[in-house]
Structure formats: structure tokens, C-alpha cells
């Protein structure tokens, strides 16, 4: 299943991620960062998931530092999405998960989200008849400090909070480049735009950790470019920790601080992108095992990894 294309990407030199006004607006959104770096952001120990007789994950350990971008990679069925689902407690698992000093693996799923973990999905689950803006607002539930009684009896308070949240949502839509589509119905959007709306929705509550499930799948090249810029900006601005699942190796190379390779539910290896992606062990395990085409396997690059992590130049596009 190789898509090997020779392409040179132009390095984005000299372009800083965000300008000052956007930075201060992002401050409004990510208004609840962790003050101390004494505790780890996310620590996963011994995570095991079993479905019936099948072991989907086996004793997986992952760490995500405060402003890391950790990418989980591996072939289909390796357990990547399962890992994210386990963190969110959408499926049953054993093991320990600590988030910002708290143990979360026994909490109800919504409380985990309320603790500051945002999640996006492979197939963006939007409400088609809502506008883009309203879809993003769906993620603001916990930050809207009013209840049903207010909605019925005290509209001014509701209006105030809604306006505040709408500002935040517009900030994020600006950030992902969809501000001009804010009033469109979500059902009319392209798949790539829907993914960005999903990501904006995950961010609107100002989480400390973002879990992004295959954010780049289904995107065309321009959209992947935007996504990379977004991820790099988040990293550079030190807003959130990010844990992604991804197939696009060039994206992983250029955005991740750490890479965790999963295979058949176990951690194969972990380290910096260069360490993992260029290691012989990784190639043999993942690449050699799944490709029947020896010739193609022989064509894989042996060139040194790009030294400049932030600009994603060079190399080929590899897709597992």
C-alpha cells in the first residue's frame, strides 16, 4: 500500500507561526494552562485493552510532555485509535493513565473531557444542519456557565456567555483558516474543512491536551499544508500538548517532537522522529513486513533525516 511520490516541499522560511494579535486571542482561548511543569501532562502505563478474545493493546507506555507533539504511528490494526479511545475512557481498559497529576483511568468519559482533554475523530462527527460556528460551539459546553433555568428565565446572562464563546470560536476558526465559512451549514463543507471544524471544536474549551485521530487522512495537499502549519503553530506557541495518530510520515517528521511506533498492540519503539522513522528496526518491522514489492522497499530513502524539524523540507511522501 505504498504511495511513493517524489516531491520537494518549499521550506517555509521566515514565516512565524502566528502574529501578535492572534497570539493574544489564543491566550483568551487557552486560558487555563498548567502553571507548573512539575507534573507530567500525560502518562500512560501498562495500558491493556481486550475485546473478547482479542488483545488490542498490550502493556503500552506513552508519555506526553507539556508542549510535546507525540505521534503514534503503525500499520492498520496496530491499536492506534484504540489508544486514544482508551484515554478518553470510551472503551474498557486496564492500566494507569495520569493526566496533569490526576489519575483519570477510572473516571467517566465526560469528566475526562472536562478535565481538559479534547478529541478529534477520523470521520468528523458534525451536526450537518448547524453552521460551522455552532458546531464549534458544541465543544464549549463546559465553559458556558449557564444552565437550563438561565436559558428559560434569564436570557441576558445566556447572551453574554454565548457572545464570549462565539468570540473564542471565531478566533479558532480564524486560526484554522475557516473564518469566512463560519456561517455555512456544516453539511456543505468539504471533508478537509470538516476535519478542521472538528479540530477547532476540540480546542474551543481551551484543553491542555489534544488527541487528534488521523487529522491528515482524507486531506488534499493544500489542506495538509494548512494542518501542518496549525500543528506547528500550536507547538511553537506552547498552547497544548498534542497526541496524534497519523499515517503521513512527512507530516509526522515535520511536526512531531516524539514518535511512538505501535505494532499489533505493542510499542515497537519510541523516540524522536528521526530515531524511529529511520531506524532499520522500524523499517523491517513495518515496511518490510507489509510490502510484498521488494523493489519498492529497496527504493526507500537512506538519506539523512532533515535537520530542521520545523520546516518539513525534503524527502518523499510516504504513506503506510
Amino acid at each position: 500500500m505504498a504511495v511513493v511520490a517524489l516531491r520537494r516541499e518549499e521550506p517555509d522560511r521566515g514565516k512565524s507561526a502566528v502574529d501578535a494579535s492572534m497570539a493574544s486571542r489564543l491566550d483568551e482561548v487557552f486560558d487555563n494552562p498548567l502553571r507548573t511543569t512539575d507534573v507530567e501532562l500525560l502518562t500512560i502505563r501498562d495500558l491493556t485493552v481486550r475485546f473478547g478474545g482479542l488483545t488490542a493493546l498490550s502493556a503500552v507506555n506513552i508519555d506526553v510532555g507539556h508542549h510535546d507533539l507525540v505521534s503514534i504511528i503503525g500499520p492498520n490494526g496496530a491499536g492506534k485509535t484504540t489508544t486514544l479511545n482508551a484515554i478518553c475512557q470510551l472503551i474498557k481498559c486496564t492500566g494507569e493513565i495520569h493526566f496533569a497529576g490526576r489519575r483519570i483511568d477510572r473516571l467517566a468519559a465526560w469528566r475526562i473531557a472536562a478535565a481538559g482533554i479534547g478529541r478529534s475523530f477520523q470521520d468528523p462527527p458534525l451536526i450537518d444542519h448547524y453552521t460551522v460556528l455552532e458546531n464549534v460551539l458544541c465543544g464549549a459546553h463546559q465553559r458556558l456557565r449557564y444552565g437550563m433555568l438561565h436559558q428559560v428565565f434569564w436570557p441576558p446572562r445566556v447572551r453574554r456567555f454565548e457572545a464570549r464563546m462565539a468570540r473564542r470560536a471565531m478566533t479558532l476558526l480564524d486560526f484554522v483558516g475557516l473564518a469566512d465559512q463560519a456561517g455555512k451549514d456544516a453539511g456543505s463543507l468539504s471533508f478537509g474543512a470538516r476535519k478542521l471544524v472538528d479540530i477547532a471544536r476540540a480546542m474551543v474549551s481551551g484543553p491542555r491536551l489534544l488527541l487528534l485521530d488521523e487529522p491528515s487522512s482524507g486531506l488534499d495537499e493544500a489542506e495538509r499544508h494548512s494542518l501542518r502549519a496549525i500543528l506547528l503553530a500550536l507547538r511553537q506557541e506552547k498552547r497544548v500538548g498534542i497526541l496524534t495518530v497519523d499515517h503521513h510520515m512527512d507530516l509526522v517528521r515535520s511536526t512531531a517532537t516524539h514518535v511512538v511506533a505501535l505494532q499489533a498492540g505493542e510499542v515497537l519503539m519510541a523516540g524522536s522522529p528521526a530515531e524511529v522513522l529511520d531506524s532499520a528496526r522500524f523499517r523491517v518491522a513495518i515496511v518490510g513486513g507489509s510490502r510484498a514489492d521488494e523493489k519498492l522497499a529497496a527504493e526507500l530513502p537512506n538519506e539523512p533525516p532533515p535537520s530542521d524539524n520545523d520546516t518539513g523540507d525534503g524527502g518523499r511522501e510516504e504513506e503506510l
Binding site: C88, W110, I117, Q151
Partner: protein, 347 residues
């Protein structure tokens, strides 16, 4: 900030609905036909139940086919409250609260079941409630096979006068309900319920306490339906367990569907249509076909018609009448803009 304000949901069309209802009420009160007024009052009452069911099924996506059981709960609680000495408006409150509790109990399966299983659980709940209601009717003081009798509200105003008073009372109550329901169906709670309806698993990841919202949906809708049941008891003066049937529950589902799921205005339209059908149908048929054989055929034809409407709408326009109106408006706007453009080009 103004950019954001413009894009958040526009003013709901419920204001038009309330205005129309007010005009209708004023007209029929002035006309002073007791029959027309009675039909109007029954329609207004039905709006309460339809709006409640729309919130539960259309907005929150929780299918309930036992809703006439909550009417029974409300009606019988009102009876019990009156007999225990509670004065008029308070028995309505008691009815609503009891129905809410019953709704939460019946909704407990909703925590673990979805879709068809939930429908069956509400069906089971219906039969269980009816059992207890039958028990109360046969054992309670003043009961009997004919049911209970309570004083009709506004009876002192005379026959027509009573109906007129009822009409204004119901108009005020229904208008308040429509405003409140529209508020609840939007904003934070509306978004939460719709996420639960469309993508329940994902709702958890947006920090939405799904269980709480499901229970609230059942509690609120049951309370409203119980309130309606109690009001209906005061309108007709009699409460008998036989009048709370599955057929009645199906009629309310038809109202919500024909009007348009997840639309407060749709619930109003559907409620009026289905409730007035048994009265309109004989007129229509007599005009077109000739005299009906017996008086009972009016409701029978009405049943056929709203059953067919349900099927037709499901297969062609699942958004109901409201959906049709919306498409018409989009079509008209598109036509108008095309015409405007071509006129500009011609000029």
C-alpha cells in the same frame, strides 16, 4: 464581535406561531361557537404534548412510544390531588412533578439502551403505568368503571363562556411553553441534546454529561405531558383509564413527525393538524363524496389520513411540513436572486 453575533442562530420562527395562535384564538372567541372553541381548546392542549414529545424525540433523539401513559399519570394525580383538597393550580403542579418522576423511572432503561430497545422499554413502561392507573381507578374513592369525575374549570361561566375562558388560558400557557421550549431547544442544552442524538459517543468527549441530559429530557417532557393530562382532566371533567391508549401515543408521534422533527413550530402545526382532522374530515368527505355512513367514520378516516401522512413524509420529506416550508423558502430566495441578477444584466 459583531461578526460572531450575526452568525449565531437567527430569531426563531416561533414568534410567528404565537402570533398566529393569538389571532386564531381571538377569532374563535369572538365567533362564540362552542363547538369550534372546543376543537381549538383540544388543539391547544395537544400542542403541549406535541412540543414535549418533539423535545424528547426530535431534539434529544430518544424514542418513546408510551407518552400517553404520562398523560394518565398527570390526570390521575390531578384527581388524587383534588380529592385530597389541593386547590386548582396546585394540582397541576403535583401532576407535572409526579409525571416527571415517572418519566425518569421509565427513562432509566434509556441509560443503557438505544433505539428499538428503548422504544420497547417505553412500551413496557406504558403497560405498567396503565396497570397502576387501573388499580387506582377501581380501588380509589369515587372511582369505578366509568372513571373519576372532577369539576370542570370555568363551569360557572356557562357553556360557551367556559370555553372562551379556557381558550385564553390555554393561549397564554401555550405561548409561554413555546417560548421556553424554543430556548431549551437551542443554545447549550440544544447542542448537547443534538450531539447525543446524532453522535452519542462523541458527546462524551465534549464534556457533555450524557446521562444527565437524557434523564432531563425524559423528566421535562414527561412533566409537560403530565401537565397536559391534568389540564385535559379539568377541561372534560372526567378521567378514565380507557382513554389513554397506544393509539393516542401513536397520534402524538404522528403530530411530531408530520409537523417536522426537532422543530417547535412543527410540533404546533402537527398538533393542530392531527387533532383537528377528525372534525375536518367529515366536512371534507361530505362535501366531496356524500354523507358518511355513521358518525364514527370521521375519526377512522382521520386515522387513515394521518397514518398515510406519516408514511408519505417519512419516505419523501422526513423534515415534515416545516422542512417543506424551508425548502419552499430557499427555492423562493434562489428564484428571486436569479431573477434579480438577470434583471440587472438586462438593464
Amino acid at each position: 464581535m459583531s461578526r460572531a453575533r450575526l452568525l449565531v442562530r437567527r430569531v426563531p420562527s416561533v414568534t410567528w406561531g404565537i402570533a398566529l395562535l393569538a389571532v386564531m384564538t381571538a377569532y374563535y372567541v369572538a365567533e362564540a361557537s362552542s363547538f369550534h372553541l372546543f376543537v381549538l381548546n383540544t388543539c391547544l392542549l395537544a400542542v403541549i404534548g406535541a412540543v414535549a414529545l418533539n423535545l424528547l424525540m426530535g431534539t434529544a433523539g430518544l424514542v418513546s412510544i408510551g407518552n400517553s401513559a404520562f398523560m394518565a399519570v398527570g390526570a390521575f394525580t390531578a384527581v388524587w390531588a383534588i380529592k385530597s383538597g389541593l386547590p386548582f393550580p396546585l394540582d397541576l403542579v403535583a401532576a407535572a412533578l409526579t409525571a416527571a418522576v415517572a418519566g425518569v423511572i421509565i427513562g432509566l432503561p434509556a441509560l443503557r439502551l438505544r433505539g428499538l430497545h428503548l422504544a420497547l422499554a417505553t412500551l413496557a413502561g406504558f403497560f405498567i403505568v396503565i396497570y397502576f392507573a387501573t388499580l387506582y381507578q377501581s380501588k380509589g374513592k369515587g372511582g369505578g368503571s366509568g372513571g373519576f369525575y372532577i369539576p370542570v374549570l370555568y363551569q360557572q361561566q356557562g357553556f360557551i363562556g367556559g370555553q372562551q375562558y379556557w381558550a385564553w388560558t390555554l393561549l397564554v400557557m401555550v405561548s409561554l411553553l413555546l417560548i421556553g421550549a424554543t430556548q431549551l431547544a437551542g443554545r447549550r442544552s440544544g447542542r448537547a441534546w443534538r450531539m447525543i442524538r446524532d453522535h452519542e459517543i462523541v458527546a462524551h468527549t465534549l464534556a457533555i454529561p450524557v446521562t444527565r441530559y437524557k434523564m432531563l429530557a425524559f423528566a421535562i417532557s414527561s412533566a409537560l405531558i403530565g401537565f397536559q393530562g391534568a389540564l385535559a382532566a379539568h377541561l372534560s371533567g372526567s378521567v378514565g383509564v380507557d382513554s389513554f391508549t397506544l393509539g393516542l401515543a401513536i397520534a402524538y408521534i404522528a403530530m411530531v413527525l408530520i409537523g417536522g422533527l426537532d422543530s417547535v413550530l412543527g410540533a404546533v402545526i402537527g398538533a393542530f393538524l392531527v387533532t383537528a382532522l377528525p372534525t375536518l374530515v367529515p366536512i371534507f368527505i361530505t362535501a366531496v363524496v356524500g354523507q358518511l355512513k355513521t358518525a364514527s367514520q370521521g375519526p377512522a378516516f382521520a386515522e387513515i389520513i394521518y397514518g398515510l401522512l406519516v408514511i408519505v413524509f417519512i419516505t419523501s420529506s422526513p423534515q415534515g411540513i416545516v422542512g417543506l416550508l424551508r425548502n419552499l423558502r430557499h427555492g423562493a430566495t434562489a428564484w428571486a436572486s436569479r431573477r434579480g441578477r438577470s434583471q440587472a444584466e438586462a438593464a
